[in-house]
């Protein structure tokens, strides 16, 4: 049996699902809208909690999918259900008939400009966590010029009704402490502060990372949300926050402010999602059938979900879901 499975999205979830389906003897087809596979993780330098190079993981995944049919720079423009599954039209005018569809469309990074008071795009020295990761990867960012004082703001675009995102983005706390350690490695003389609401260090080795950041890297964690950012005469960043553990407002001048941007639902898939009849959940991500036993299923038979399209997820979470979706699809086809 060489059934076609349409996988929309060639990030970690899409690649891993394709790998597993391929091993099961099915014929996965990846449609990726960007020019390369790998998704967000391909832009990442090192992974928490143990500073593992992301490249190693991505290269392994790419190697796994080298024999799998992949469309790059391609989007699904239309999809219809037919008697035997789904008929999809691609932006290059090709069509695919598939027995099942896996939505592995992942997430968008929260646009930091939306949190206007942080002045991203207005103040030179306010950058996002994604840009900092890019700096670690390439060593290039003219805004990062031997900073002496660096601040990290957690929950940018998360747990914040003012930007309509009430959920926790799950990975930012750990990422912030990882990046805080890394920037101390690059600039050992710098003072690094992180402004957190709750430090959610939930996974294996994450608490160790937290301890490491405090003990070995002297990262100073301040509980309180940065609420106002401005620029002083020298172009330095002036922030205001409350140290809620101390019960007093703080004012601090920084050379660099890093915004830990949350994950948001990838909206470029909205039209196809609508055509497939998949609703959004209360956090605005795709609604799966059930949180526990039906996490890969949707309200529509034959349409499956995996990875961060249903909620913010870490890489191990995503890979786990990608593997489980493969099993779900396999069982569905053998029903």
């Amino acid at each position: 049996m060489k059934e076609n499975i349409l996988i929309i999205g060639g990030g970690a979830a899409g690649m891993e699902a394709a790998t597993q389906l391929h091993k099961m003897g099915l014929n996965p087809i990846i449609v990726e809208k960007s020019e390369a596979l790998g998704g967000h993780i391909a832009q990442w330098d090192r992974l928490f909690p143990a500073f593992h190079p992301a490249k190693d993981v991505v290269e392994q995944m790419l190697d796994n999918v080298k024999d799998i049919k992949t469309y790059l720079n391609t989007e699904v423009t239309d999809i219809q259900r037919n008697n035997d599954g789904f008929h999809a039209v691609l932006s290059n005018n090709e069509t695919i008939d598939a027995k099942a569809v896996i939505l592995a469309t992942g997430f968008d990074v929260f646009k930091a400009e939306r949190k206007q008071e942080y002045g991203y795009g207005i103040y030179n020295n306010v950058i996002t966590s994604v840009e900092l990761e890019e700096f670690f990867r390439t060593g290039k960012d003219e805004r990062i010029n031997h900073p002496k004082k660096i601040g990290f703001v957690h929950c940018v675009g998360a747990r914040d009704v003012k930007v309509c995102n009430t959920y926790c983005s799950k990975v930012c706390c750990t990422t912030a402490l990882k990046q805080a350690c890394e920037i101390k490695e690059v600039f050992p003389d710098a003072e690094v502060y992180t402004f957190y609401m709750d430090l959610r260090m939930f996974g294996l080795g994450y608490e160790d990372l937290y301890l490491k950041s405090q003990k070995d890297f002297d990262v100073k964690c301040v509980r309180g949300r940065v609420c106002e950012v401005s620029e002083d005469m020298d172009g330095k960043i002036v922030i205001k926050a409350e140290d809620t553990l101390f019960g007093k407002p703080l004012k601090m001048t920084l050379d660099l402010l890093v915004l830990m941007c949350s994950m948001e639902k990838n909206k470029s898939i909205d039209a196809i999602q609508q055509k497939l009849g998949i609703a959004n959940n209360s956090d605005g991500f795709m609604q799966n059938k059930d949180m526990y036993l039906g996490m890969n299923d949707t309200a529509q038979e034959g349409v499956f979900v995996a990875g961060a399209c249903t909620a913010p997820k870490s890489l191990p979470d995503t890979i786990g879901e990608a593997r489980s979706v493969a099993v779900e699809v396999y069982n569905y086809l053998n029903k």
Binding site: E113, Q116, G121, I122, N124, S230, D232, M233
Partner: protein, 356 residues
């Protein structure tokens, strides 16, 4: 500072208001403290720009002071506002413009509340009828007077005689813009430029040749707040807020502060004297303060109105250094003459901050 970033936000926060036919309502505080401002506004719009701005003698306070001081409930404030709107309707207008920022906040809040809670609107409709026997109506457009000066800023620039430029150095004046808190902090979409980087005054400064100063405490309140200043025990709080702003703007050496709220120019002006009394410190050069003017006063100045006709002698901080910088001719003798030309006599002047 990346100006393109701000421009993008300014482009996002543009509100749609017509440029003519407005029902104009005054501000309790402004007509008492800066009487020249509202007169100038009407003169510029009606006579210089040829617009239709109607004023009804029966309009009252919006109730904002009492509302924010917790002396009347919201329903009462809303009924007062409904009466104002009814007057507008009776006068045949559907565009409403107010001179006061507190009023602007109250009107916006009321309209939003009615929008969210139609049942409350129905109650107010009844109250209005019961109390005034007036027909309930809502304005089609609500604007603040500064929105209109912003909208007409390029028309004013065309008639400009004295741009915001230092005639001696040829350099633009450094201008601090201070926005009233209730202009857009509550409803960012109701203000030009939004809440974080409002454009309403920045647009005027840029159009009239000045250079905008963006300093760390730009967003901070002037410290007025009815419950701050009105309660004797809280006055220190009010003064301390102003002090904080001046300490923050001082290194930028601004020539002028331009404001769009009734209380802000008053407190940014008067507290400079109080701070000077207490600490001996003045924030302008050579023992002078930094003039804090209303947008109408600045519009009037650049258009060539006589400073004393604008009522600039009402300011505690001496205006003369600014006039000299801008090259605006003035007659020092006329500073304390009444409208009838009679000399009112020079008031007592403090020694801690220069008054002339």
């Amino acid at each position: 500072m990346i100006i393109e970033g701000k421009q993008k936000i300014w482009a996002d926060y543009q509100k749609d208001i017509p440029n003519d036919h407005y029902f104009y309502v005054r501000s309790c505080i402004r007509q008492a403290f800066w009487p020249g401002s509202e007169v100038t506004f009407l003169d510029i719009t009606r006579n210089k720009l040829g617009k239709d701005f109607y004023e009804n003698p029966y309009h009252t306070t919006c109730g904002g002071i009492a509302y924010h001081s917790d002396t009347i409930p919201q329903e009462t404030a809303m009924t007062i506002i409904a009466r104002q709107f009814a007057l507008m309707h009776e006068s045949g207008y559907e565009n409403y413009v107010c001179s006061c920022i507190t009023s602007f906040g109250c009107y916006t809040e009321t309209l939003e509340t009615w929008h969210e809670y139609p049942e409350l609107e129905a109650i107010i409709r009844q109250y209005l009828w019961d109390s005034c026997k007036k027909e309930f109506a809502k304005p089609k457009y609500l604007a603040h007077a500064s929105d209109l000066i912003y909208k007409f800023r390029f028309d004013i620039a065309k008639q400009m005689k004295f741009p915001l430029v230092n005639v001696k150095t040829g350099k633009p004046l450094k201008v601090v813009e201070h926005i009233g808190c209730h202009y857009s902090k509550m409803f960012p979409s109701k203000g030009f430029g939004g809440a974080e980087y409002p454009h309403v005054l920045v647009g005027m400064i840029e159009a009239w040749g000045g250079e905008v100063v963006d300093y760390p405490e730009r967003r901070h309140c002037c410290g007025f707040g009815f419950r701050q200043y009105f309660v004797q025990a809280n006055r220190g709080y009010s003064e301390s807020n102003t002090h904080k702003k001046f300490e923050s703007m001082e290194p930028y050496e601004p020539d002028l502060i331009i404001t769009n709220c009734p209380g802000c120019p008053y407190f940014l002006d008067r507290w400079q004297y109080v701070i000077a009394e207490q600490t001996g410190k003045t924030y302008g050069k050579n023992g002078y303060g930094i003039p804090a003017l209303t947008y109408e006063e600045v519009a009037g100045l650049v258009m060539g109105y006589d400073p004393w006709d604008l009522g600039l002698q009402m300011h505690q901080v001496a205006i003369e250094p600014l006039l000299e910088k801008m090259g605006i001719p003035y007659d020092p003798k006329k500073k304390y003459q009444g409208l009838n030309g009679k000399d009112l006599g020079q008031p007592m002047c403090p020694s801690c901050i220069k008054s002339v």
